[in-house]
């Protein structure tokens, strides 16, 4: 083999920091405009995902078909005993998880890694993408409620604002949970495992008052076309606060994976967890 042959430049050691666009280098510049733009891009992807579209169409159809039901509270009538409404968050959870893991699946992480936008900002944007979707869900329940009003439902079953927010907040929570699972458990089977675990927890909590920690569904029992039993739910407003708390916890959980300075985030997470637990307790019947 020949010896190493290096024809070295004589100006090698004189790196120049000067550049025509060095003025753009502003460390610590706010990332919010980028996060908002990215969140819109992610929301477009999420809203066009077949799982989301199928979920919205099914739930919308089921709610309109169910619009003549009665016998329970506004929430029960709005969600048909909870069943149609419960379809949307799970499918959105899987869609959001797929969205958050697609850079890895499609091999785009290398490109992302060389971009100035940090991974934590992308995580925040992925969580933020749940807001437009939650707004779409809100539009859906408002449309159903309006339709029900137009077809002559009694005023007593007009839902309160808190009841209207329950499905959108569930959707927001599903998106943020999907992102958090993608960040901590970035494996293909992980969301299925988490979903099964959540269902198992809900079943385990299904007896007595503790059931409201798992889900907020009125149970209505019919016998010979007569309503025989209604298990009334607790406070819809506190349940909405509980769902919002869970969503915020999921956002913080997802960000904890990406940030290096995590002490303040841990503190915030602890406060939010306490507030969420309080809201969860307050929602009980």
């Amino acid at each position: 083999m020949r010896d190493v042959l290096v024809a070295r430049s004589t100006s090698a050691a004189t790196a120049s920091p000067g550049s025509r666009r060095s003025s753009t280098v502003v460390p610590g510049r706010s990332s919010w405009p980028v996060i908002v733009r990215l969140a819109w891009a992610e929301a477009r992807w999420l809203l066009r995902h077949p799982l989301t579209l199928a979920g919205l169409c099914f739930v919308g159809f089921a709610l309109f078909v169910n619009s003549n039901a009665s016998g329970g509270s506004a929430f029960t009538d709005l969600t048909g005993g909870g069943a149609p409404g419960l379809w949307l968050p799970p499918v959105v959870f899987f869609a959001a998880n797929l969205g958050a893991t697609r850079s890895r699946r499609d091999g785009v992480d290398e490109l992302h890694g060389a971009a100035p936008v940090a991974r934590a900002a992308r995580t925040a944007a992925l969580c933020g993408a749940g807001l437009p979707l939650a707004t779409a869900a809100l539009g859906l329940v408002v449309a159903v409620s309006t339709y029900r009003g137009l077809v002559g439902q009694p005023r007593s079953i007009v839902p309160t604002p808190a009841e209207l927010l329950l499905l959108p907040l569930s959707v927001l929570g599903a998106v943020t949970l999907g992102v958090m699972v993608a960040r901590w458990l970035p494996w293909r089977a992980a969301p299925v495992g988490v979903f099964i675990a959540l269902v198992a927890v809900s079943i385990a909590l299904s007896d007595g008052a503790s059931s409201w920690w798992g889900s907020y569904v009125e149970l209505v029992e019919w016998k010979d076309h007569e309503l025989t039993d209604i298990r009334m739910a607790g406070s819809a407003a506190w349940h909405a606060a509980y769902l919002l708390g869970l969503s915020t916890m999921a956002v913080i959980g997802a960000l904890l994976r990406d940030l290096s300075h995590r002490r303040s985030l841990w503190c915030l997470g602890a406060v939010v967890t306490l507030l969420t637990a309080g809201a969860g307790w307050a929602q009980l019947p």
């Binding site: 020949r2 100006s11 090698a12 550049s19 405009p33 785009v108 992302h112 100035p116």
Partner: protein, 286 residues
């Protein structure tokens, strides 16, 4: 001419494998080519230039900044264009949507000016006609051009291209050469490739890596001159040649130490490269 890239005794190991073992070179404005056999450390080095991989040791300076410092790293990324060896794509996106998404990641928040910039780089890469097509419907060469387009977003000062011409047909390679040479007129381009013809056509400077070390750092002419007097033609396969092959004209082109009185010919860049790296490069060539 100011130096924009300084690589000084840079090392990097993956487990027990020493991918880079004290690489040193510098690069300035223009196109600098990285040549080397498989496993020479080219991709590892370019990933460091793209700030996605940290050196294990040594000193790296990009655009006069230290990528080991978070603030400097951010500043470098704002002035960097990068095409990885195997760029992934969101295949359900259109070419426009994908480049637009990367533009957002490059902090281009104003929608109108960002879209203008996306259209500009797509036009540069010759993709205007297919910008509305899904990436999954594009050919490998077209996708490569989408990758190049995103690397040009924001008119970066440092462009890092890892084997940009791999898998392209001759016409596409020529288009790429034209584009890359135009890019290199105003900024620093680092180009890794196996293709000595690309390097010869594009680069003002060549760095040859082998087994994680710098084996050559100079101009294409200097690399070519390494083979001066060691390339000859003969009617039969000679005994002493390191490498010999029969050309289309029916004669043998030979590399190595010639016997006296042979018909010496002008060497090519590839001859210099093959003779520089010896057995490893010859094994690659074979």
């Amino acid at each position: 001419m100011s130096t924009t890239v300084v690589v000084d005794e840079v090392t990097r190991s993956f487990g027990r494998t020493r991918a880079l073992d004290g690489v040193s070179f510098t690069a300035s404005r223009g196109v600098t080519g990285l040549l080397g056999p498989n496993g020479a450390g080219k991709t590892t080095l370019l990933r460091m230039m793209a700030t996605v991989l940290a050196p294990g040791g040594g000193r790296l300076s990009l655009l006069g900044l230290d990528p080991a410092q978070p603030e400097d790293r951010l500043a470098i990324r704002r002035r960097l264009g990068y095409l990885p060896q195997e760029p992934g794509f969101y295949k359900h996106f259109t070419a426009f949507e994908f480049v637009d998404y990367i533009a957002i990641l490059k902090e281009m928040t104003d929608r109108r000016s960002r879209h203008d910039e996306v259209r500009r780089v797509l036009a540069l890469a010759g993709l205007t006609e297919v910008s509305g097509k899904k990436i999954r419907a594009l050919s490998g060469g077209m996708r490569r051009r989408v990758g190049l387009a995103q690397a040009l977003l924001g008119d970066p000062d440092l462009v890092v291209l890892d084997e940009p011409t791999v898998g392209l047909d001759p016409e596409q390679r020529l288009r790429f050469r034209e584009l890359i040479s135009a890019i290199g007129e105003g900024r620093t381009v680092l180009l890794s490739t196996h293709q000595t013809e690309d390097v010869g056509a594009l680069c003002s400077r060549i760095v040859v890596l082998d087994a994680g070390r710098t084996r050559f750092d100079g101009t294409p002419r200097e690399l070519r001159e390494l083979a001066r007097g060691r390339v000859w033609l003969s009617d039969d396969r000679p005994v002493g040649a390191q490498l010999s092959w029969r050309t289309g004209e029916g004669r043998h082109r030979n590399l190595g130490t010639p016997a006296a009185g042979v018909e010496l010919i002008d060497p090519t860049l590839e001859d210099g490269y093959l003779l520089l790296l010896g057995e490893r490069a010859l094994a690659d060539a074979a």
